[in-house]
Symmetry: C2
């Protein structure tokens, strides 16, 4: 098997260091729209906006790359509209790198799928019930119209646990679709990442990974995780899957996760993350801190003049806990906005700390400190 090691124009992943005592990797993803220090966390901008934040506010949290959703944008406003309005960067106002997912996960989680065959998936829109189709070729074409920097292949996601035959079939189809996606891609300024499926079955994960690696993608996601399985199950799958992926390509467990999940995944050698948790939890008055999560609606904060997190320079931490609680109790939009900012800032600070720790070969120490802190809540 010959591997073409050339990456698409503009994308280059540089593995800078591997922690001496764990699998934690320090790297840099070079894109046409600037660098991304890894391990990195991408805020989720489902509908071309991180909910409640302007692009400038997202940038101020420390984020370097964001994620947008192909499924949502294809339904509304339509990829043709995004393209007419200058592509996703111009449209959203985010000038840094953008990764788009393929829609595979939304077909599974949001839409009502009516049929999946090798040709593609038939589904009904979650907005208006229209019957639509998504094929691997179509997912690539949409993402090329959107103009993201990194596109994802369409994968077949199944619920966990599922019957082994079903998982195996989805796995086969995911590889088939990856190959077709690769053949369909024409944009030279966009990189296409593959997605390893295989449910909770190490053998299926292994065969899926090996076949996708043989196809030589510039990056690899580990999909179908963070869908309700126990954390230990997820870590076990990362344990077997990450080492099978090429060392010189970014590894990306999609949709992961809680701060502890990020650390567990990083020590197993992955590089990229996305998750709605900081923003969704923020909107629901749940804040992340080094001392665990804080429920901002709790009455205990009513007269608390302290900031949410001491030493945090984010916009939320310029206010008292009492004010933040008031905003949520009064149903004010500013509550969700400020807590989204804090949580995103928290995630970015966590990853910045992790990167420093890897560089100094003390990731495990950092891991233990953070884990201990979160358990004090």
């Amino acid at each position: 098997m010959t591997r073409d090691r050339s990456l698409p124009a503009g994308l280059h992943f540089q593995l800078q260091h591997v922690d001496l005592q764990s699998g934690a990797r320090l790297g840099e993803l070079h894109t046409l729209r600037g660098p991304v220090c890894t391990p990195a966390f991408m805020p989720v901008g489902t509908q071309a906006t991180v909910k409640g934040l302007t692009p400038g506010m997202v940038r101020a949290t420390g984020a370097q790359m964001v994620l947008a959703n192909t499924y949502h944008l294809a339904l509304r406003p339509g990829e043709d509209v995004v393209k007419l309005l200058g592509g996703l960067h111009q449209f959203s106002g985010w000038s840094g790198p953008i990764l788009t997912d393929s829609g595979g996960f939304q077909l599974f989680s949001l839409a009502r799928i009516s049929a999946v065959t090798d040709a593609g998936a038939q589904f009904r829109s979650h907005i208006d019930g229209r019957l639509l189709e998504l094929s691997p070729e179509r997912a690539v074409a949409i993402q090329e119209q959107l103009g993201s920097d990194i596109a994802m292949v369409l994968d077949h996601v199944v619920a966990l646990p599922s019957d082994r035959t079903l998982v195996e079939e989805a796995c086969q189809r995911t590889v088939l679709w990856a190959e077709r996606s690769q053949a369909a891609a024409v944009r030279k300024d966009q990189s296409l990442f593959a997605i390893v499926q295989g449910g909770l079955d190490p053998q299926l994960r292994q065969s899926c990974a090996e076949r996708l690696v043989a196809l030589d993608f510039p990056g690899y996601a580990i999909g179908g995780l963070s869908v309700g399985e126990a954390p230990a199950e997820m870590y076990r799958i990362l344990d077997v899957t990450a080492p099978l992926l090429p060392e010189d390509r970014p590894r990306y467990p999609m949709g992961v996760g809680r701060p502890e999940d990020l650390l567990e995944a990083i020590r197993r050698g992955v590089d990229l993350f996305d998750c709605v948790m900081p923003t969704r939890n923020g909107r629901n008055a749940l804040a992340f801190t080094d001392r665990g999560t804080v429920r901002m609606k709790n009455r205990v904060h009513r007269e608390d003049a302290r900031p949410l997190e001491e030493g945090c320079a984010c916009a939320a931490c310029q206010h008292s806990r009492g004010f933040l609680r008031h905003l949520f109790m009064a149903g004010e939009m500013l509550g969700p906005i400020l807590l989204s900012i804090h949580n995103l800032t928290y995630y970015q600070r966590l990853l910045s700390t992790v990167r420093e720790a890897i560089k100094a070969d003390r990731f495990e120490e950092c891991y233990r400190e953070k884990m201990a802190g979160w358990q004090t809540a």
Copy 2:
């Protein structure tokens, strides 16, 4: 009658110029927390936050002073909590001057009043139906605890049109309450403004104004307007009321209004404004521009790459109309946020233009230009 012309420590209104061809006044309100150039527009921060904006974002629209609501803050979180958390400025994060209204208007518009006597108003909270009381003394005490720079006396607001006897009684009570409010006020760093009532009756407005002027307040509001009456009725009341107020004190028609109302009021010689319209309309996808209002959900904007308003430097106008429409169609919070920012920026820019025009004795020209532009929509 002797008038004590001394103003409370920290507040000083300087009338700088009156337009040669109209009643439009240029001035500056000096407060302990900085200057306010008049005519000025105060964004409304009902519950100690301008909806959807951080204090920094409010400042960036050009606002110098904001308004907060005594009624709302007394109900939630309670003025004691605001005081414990350092007062309204510390609590909200807005370090510039703040004006609080007295709750009189909210009793009329939001709460279910069960009885109004000279002693005060009995009402039920719009949040939980609790039976509460508000007296002029209590309204002053709450505002002193909140710690605003300018407090308003409790007034008796009645619906328009109302029976003349009812309006007259409310008017009498408003003067009585103003006197008691003045006697109750103790904070030297807070100024108390009176509110002229009298409905649509010029005689009642006149007698109310004269009696309040005799009490020598550092500023005068014209209340009970913008409650559904025809604009011409409002202008007629401003015509008779404004000239009765001392020239050297700021004049403030509460709750006014649309951009055209601001210009009509300014040429009749008033100085301060507050209105929920820029933020409320913004949340409902209606934008103000020099070419009239724009409904951002309209399909005509779907593929429009132009900004909402050419030459506007606000955060909304960094995006295309197509993106703004998308945000509203997709139910994204960022739509209301960006349109609130634009509308507030629009109001501030309008008043800045007006101030320049007054300075150059060309207010009427400015008035005609703006009015003509708004009618092109």
